[in-house]
Symmetry: C2
Subunit: 211 residues, 2 copies
DNA sequence: GAAAATTACTAAACACTGTTCAGTAAGTTT
DNA sequence: AAACTTACTGAACAGTGTTTAGTAATTTTC
């Protein structure tokens, strides 16, 4: 029935339609609960049709993974007008953690799961371009901070990895629920936002001491 | 056949046998590839038997998750004889990251996946005791460092969360492969061990500056 | 000692999953 | 009109976690 109706409708690019449906299901139900069959059902095609456009489930989610990076990089780009590099670094930290907080599923896909990256393992020339972009922006900002007298004596890429580790660690402990668990058991803090904010604040205070 | 043989064998606690098999399969093949059926086959029982001892797959892996924490906490305990708290904190960082490096599957289960924690979500009084223990040791060490003049002006639990975030971030970027990817594309470092070591070294240098 | 109750276990089914492949109907080219 | 190409699908394969009805052996009760 649905299959017959759909044939009348004007045809957009089917690949886009598949991704749109996959994204909606993914954001609504998560990765595990978004099956190839449920995507197919949503777009009123047979599951086999998806395999004409994507090699496998990983390739579908790798496309979403890339979309997530485009979102994050574009959020970073709004910070280009912050002229002071240290202020920009702080703002990047907040943007990063906020992105993870507001888009936990995307964040999981981009930085935690390695399923969608299995696509890359077959073709190592194929890059993680958007991710590399984001790191480049961080590295540039750290280097500029050093020109302003911050982080003296630290090797810039090592320092960038350190900053990334810290914000990623915070973001991932937050989205996994482990941070909130320890907060509940070990602290007096009111909620998960309080720990996250407090930890970010501590991190920035720490960076500030490294003038 | 196998089922008949096994009935003759002396009976240990079946729950332990299930966990032993689950652990072996898990360390060999990973979480996804360790099915209830494969565990059952390994111990020569029917899959249904496992459900007489465990509510579901999560409960099986929650038991392994706890075992991982016992391993980590016991590794921390070997550090009790390091009398200088700052030296102890540094050593804890290395133990933590080494644990994640040497037991990536356990680490995933303990700090990255939230599947085994779904068991807890039903019964919130049930704790993550071993994990809380590990955090307590960290908090104590940080507090003692402060008594020796380190990290002045920082609130101890916030600072502990920060330290945890950093080492967890490093460990999880390492085990997920993201760290190595960026290293390959963006740095001259030889291998994953070089980045990890370099980032840890940078972190410790940073902490040292906060006297 | 016979009957009843309990224990330990399993076969089979249910409702899913990702993926493949032979086949078909419609449109295009020769 | 015949041949070829495209777009798509139904059905199957081999797997998954989990539940349930049932059974054989053991233990308890009368």
């Amino acid at each position: 029935m649905g299959i017959e109706d759909r044939k009348q409708r004007h045809r957009e690019d089917l690949k886009e339609i598949i991704l749109k449906a996959a994204k909606e299901l993914f954001l609504e139900k998560g990765y595990e609960a978004t099956s190839m069959r449920s995507i197919a059902e949503k777009i009123e095609y047979s599951p086999a049709t998806i395999y004409l456009h994507f090699k496998d489930k990983n390739e579908v989610f790798y496309a979403l993974h890339k979309e997530g990076f485009r979102m994050l990089v574009s959020a970073f780009k709004t910070l280009a007008n912050v002229s002071d590099p240290f202020e920009r670094l702080k703002a990047m930290g907040h943007v990063y953690v906020n992105f993870a907080t507001e888009n936990p599923d995307f964040y999981q896909l981009m930085f935690v799961m390695h399923e969608p990256l299995e696509v890359l393992e077959l073709d190592l020339t194929l890059g993680w371009d958007e991710g590399d972009d984001a790191f480049r922006v961080l590295l540039e900002t750290v280097t500029q901070c050093q020109q302003n007298g911050y982080f003296k004596g630290f090797e810039p890429s090592g320092f960038s990895f350190l900053v990334w580790s810290t914000v990623h660690g915070l973001a991932s402990l937050r989205t996994s629920g482990h941070l909130d668990h320890v907060r509940q058991v070990k602290t007096e803090m009111a909620d998960i936002n309080a720990v996250t904010g407090h930890t970010m604040h501590t991190f920035i205070a720490m960076l500030e001491r490294l003038r």
